[in-house]
């Protein structure tokens, strides 16, 4: 292949894509520049992307004071961890069943699971809200988590991973007298850790970023997750023209995932490719 020729032909398009990538970064650049800008610059200066100032943390201090970010962080962490913990149990059990067990109605159940890929819980927010209220979970963190405890995407991901485990390993463990759950814990799970990590990344990202469902379920300010807290904060700050503070608040919300991504880029990218199943 004449790589050189292709490369030459691509050059103008490379310039264009480079410029687009720069444009793609602008909202992030603005967020950084505005968040560290001293004092409240009203008017035109606020939009400048040039950090012609001595950076300060004043905006962060103000954001930190005017909203309970510590509580929001804790709530989001509890929600993400709670969902993931239950999901890992449900998806490995169901994944194992679909990968290795033959039982009546297997195909029917397979399709029943498949439905959830399309009918995401958020679409059913009105009836689900009623169910959550009937279960006594309105305005609680478990109420936010409950609709996500089963995951068709996770089940299929684990099923695929379990299928790659050689059957001989299972047989060997069985002749050694292992019970079925010992099989899963000691044979299957250690061998399918990459799939679990991929699922964990996608699940945590999705629920870290989720907004509408927690907005519906949570009423008390001290139970808000980060996204709901940020929304209230942004809408409240708007009138005061406190854009630097809004930028700082936004940065506080997006930082953990962005840092995670910068540290484990390959893992993130691979996980998101797997999430295409969703």
């Amino acid at each position: 292949m004449t790589a050189k020729g292709v490369r030459a032909a691509l050059r103008p398009s490379r310039l264009l894509i480079g410029a687009l990538a720069l444009a793609w970064a602008v909202p992030f650049l603005w967020m950084l520049v505005a968040a560290f800008r001293p004092e409240r610059v009203g008017g035109a200066g606020m939009a400048s992307l040039v950090p012609a100032y001595v950076p300060t943390l004043a905006n962060f201090a103000e954001a930190w004071d005017s909203a309970d970010f510590v509580v929001y962080y804790l709530n989001t962490i509890i929600i993400c961890a709670g969902i993931l913990a239950v999901q890992l149990v449900t998806i490995s059990l169901a994944g194992y069943a679909f990968a290795r067990l033959r039982f009546p109605g297997r195909t029917v159940f397979f399709y029943l699971f498949l439905v959830q890929l399309m009918l995401a819980p958020i679409v059913l927010l009105v009836p689900n809200l009623r169910t959550v209220a009937q279960l006594g979970l309105y305005d609680t963190l478990p109420g936010v988590m409950a609709p996500y405890f089963a995951s068709a995407f996770g089940t299929f991901l684990m099923r695929q991973a379990f299928q790659t485990v050689p059957r001989e390993l299972e047989d060997a463990a069985l002749t050694d007298g292992a019970r079925w759950w010992e099989l899963i814990v000691h044979v299957y799970l250690p061998l399918t850790r990459p799939a679990m990590i991929a699922f964990a990344i996608v699940s945590v990202t999705a629920h870290w970023n989720e907004f509408l469902w927690p907005l519906m379920v949570i009423n008390s300010p001290d139970r808000r997750p980060l996204t709901v807290g940020l929304a209230m904060f942004t809408l409240g700050a708007e009138g005061a023209q406190a854009w630097g503070v809004t930028a700082a608040g936004t940065l506080l919300v997006v930082a953990p995932l962005l840092i995670g991504f910068l540290m484990f880029q390959r893992r993130f990218v691979n996980s998101f490719m797997a999430s295409g199943l969703k």
Binding site: A47, T131, T250, G276
Partner: protein
């Protein structure tokens, strides 16, 4: 429980073997159990519930009557019709440019040089942040006069629009934000798809004297067809189920020009206290999603079953 069955099975090889199979059946169902409980509670039951409710109008006090009244009510509601047509414009306006951009990104950045990896990361960043956070940033970008967009447009001597306040423009501003948010995600799938094209395919095309455009048209695109179809499905799912930015930027306004289906459902349920209309609109949305499922089922199954 499964073991109990095995233990309780009486003597005799045949019986044991039979009950062992029985145990295995039970084990299969038991392993699906936890998932099925939650799927039943939060997917099947609410679906049934919302269909039932959509077909019953009136309140508990006045008594419920069976019929299509709720559907007639939303059909007569200009806000609903607006939300439906907005959602179509939003879908087409978001997905087509996102796909073209994502494909262009992937084609340009397919080789993993350090520079390309950096650009890919930059393009992927918006995928990782909450849609609400993206909206918070774009609230300032779209701010009339002093906002980022108007500030730099003014430097170019162009006068900006009232990005979120003008009913003719607002939906397109929202579309712009969504393209920014999603193109990097779709790019990933195209990158994976491109890597799966055998180099021989290009060699043959080159021997035939195909130019760059012809290679794209007759080699790359046909190979990427499954990827394209797939990205189209997740794109459609996304434009139906993600409305978080509407809450921050426009709340559906001005005059319903940025109202989308799911936001309309939220409005009816939470702000207007009209569960009948909310249920009917949800059923319309479910129908759209089921149609999408039916169209893409084979694709989905293939992806799920793949690599067996």
């Amino acid at each position: 429980m499964a073991e109990l069955v095995v233990q309780m099975a009486g003597a005799g090889v045949k019986r044991v073997r039979l009950s062992r199979r029985h145990a295995r059946n039970l084990l299969g169902l038991a392993s699906l159990g936890p998932s099925l409980v939650f799927l039943a509670a939060f997917t099947y039951w609410p679906t049934a519930q919302v269909i039932w409710q959509s077909l019953h109008a009136g309140s508990r006090r006045t008594g419920l009557s069976f019929g299509l009244e709720n559907f007639q009510a939303i059909a007569a509601d200009p806000a609903f019709r607006r939300a439906l047509s907005n959602n179509m414009v939003y879908a087409a306006g978001t997905i087509a440019p996102s796909l073209v951009l994502a494909l262009a990104f992937a084609l340009t950045l397919v080789h993993s040089t350090r520079f390309n990896t950096l650009l890919r990361s930059v393009l992927f960043l918006p995928v990782l942040i909450p849609l609400v956070a993206a909206a918070s940033l774009f609230l300032f970008i779209f701010l009339p006069g002093v906002g980022l967009l108007d500030y730099y447009l003014a430097k170019l001597g162009v006068q900006g629009a009232n990005w979120l306040g003008d009913p003719d423009v607002a939906l397109y501003s929202i579309i712009g934000l969504t393209i920014w948010k999603n193109a990097g995600y779709y790019m990933l799938f195209f990158l994976a798809g491109l890597q799966a094209i055998p180099p021989e395919a290009y060699e043959v095309a080159l021997l035939d004297g195909a130019n760059l455009w012809q290679r794209l048209r007759f080699v790359t695109l046909p190979y990427l067809r499954p990827t394209l179809a797939f990205v189209l499905v997740i794109g459609l799912l996304g434009v139906i189920t993600q409305v978080d930015h509407i809450f921050i930027l426009t709340k559906g306004g001005p005059s319903d020009s940025t109202n989308l289906l799911l936001f309309y459902i939220y409005q009816q349920a939470v702000e207007r206290y009209d569960p009948g209309k909310a249920a009917a609109a949800t059923v319309v949305m479910l129908a759209l999603l089921l149609a999408l499922t039916a169209l893409s089922l084979r694709r989905l199954e293939h992806n799920v079953e793949g690599r067996e």
